[in-house]
């Protein structure tokens, strides 16, 4: 999955788990947890949406706080891993 598509899918996943989110105000490097754009509860739902978007199960190694830092990181870790970037 290329970077642009992956980022777009991450944004769609975020909108699904947090319907009030203002995607137009969210940069790809906005710290999502540090700025409380999403909560730790949202992360569980987000993981399920990312699995659905990628067609792959996440691994325990991916489930560390740093993987959810921002849109760009989520795209790279969950949707582009194994692909050429």
């Amino acid at each position: 999955m290329n970077r642009r598509l992956a980022v777009s899918r991450v944004r769609a996943c975020l909108a699904a788990v947090q319907p009030g989110i203002r995607l137009d105000e969210l940069d790809d490097d906005t710290p999502l947890l540090a700025e409380r754009v999403i909560s730790s509860l949202d992360v569980l739902n987000l993981i399920l949406h990312l699995e659905e978007a990628s067609g792959r199960k996440v691994s325990r190694e991916q489930l560390v706080p740093g993987s959810f830092r921002d849109v760009r990181t989520i795209a790279r870790v969950f949707l582009m891993s194994g692909d050429s970037e």
Binding site: S39, S40, L41, L44, L48, K57, V58, L63, P65, S67
Partner: protein
Amino acid sequence: MSNIDFDRFLRKLSAASERSPLDPRRIEWPAEVDPDSWYFSPELISLYGTPVWEAMSARERKRLSLCEAANFFSLNIHGEKYLIGEIRRRLVAGDDSELTRYLSHFIAEEARHMAYFSEFCERYAGKIYPDRSVRLEAGDDRELDRLLLFARIYVFEEIVDHYNRTMARDERLTGIAREINRMHHAEEVRHLAFGRRFLMRCVHRELNGWSDSMRAELHRQLAVYLEFVWTSYCNPDVYRDAGIDSPFEVWQATSTSTRAAAHRAAINRKRLGFLDVIGLLEAT
């Protein structure tokens, strides 16, 4: 409660653990799944009462009950693995001998529970459902961190025990499912008694001296954890394994349904009122 009373209480719990350890090796495991048996009480199944449930045949519902049981036991495995790790980490620095002694029993009991939950999942579902939790909230305040750990354990165990108690008594369930729920309930009763006393003691000793912002953070994190526990009870992998069409869409509709919210709220009210009373969790 004075230190002497608390130590006396801990000694009683330790003595009870030493007197009657339940031995999972005595469990008689049926050779295979009975497709006509219930493995989970229908009313506790996440899809119960939904249009998807109504459209299922009796056998499909029973297949789903097996997958729900495996998910429930998997959640227990992951939850117990987490608490064993966290308590063991604190035992190293422990300086309270009665507390250390009882927590050693607590850990040993949790390890035994994991053994029979794992056996059930591997034997009848062919898998342990994966742990999707991410530990995000570890703060640098030791008092808050410790209180949150034991409050989380308590929340987790109260909800689990509601399910265990209900299913241990449910005569519709096949014997092995009832037995595992019964065994777990028998030991968790002590863990819950410990949790209530320990949390009450922490509140009396520590919480009154906390700032409003620390209390707010405690309430926020515990409320998020409670939601997290409930969210985990609804798993699209379960629906996929039960042969349900569009499992992800079914999960989305079910996890946010008013029925699910009412079910969770009723159990929260029934089992978590204590946390409200001692000021750890608001609006249960």
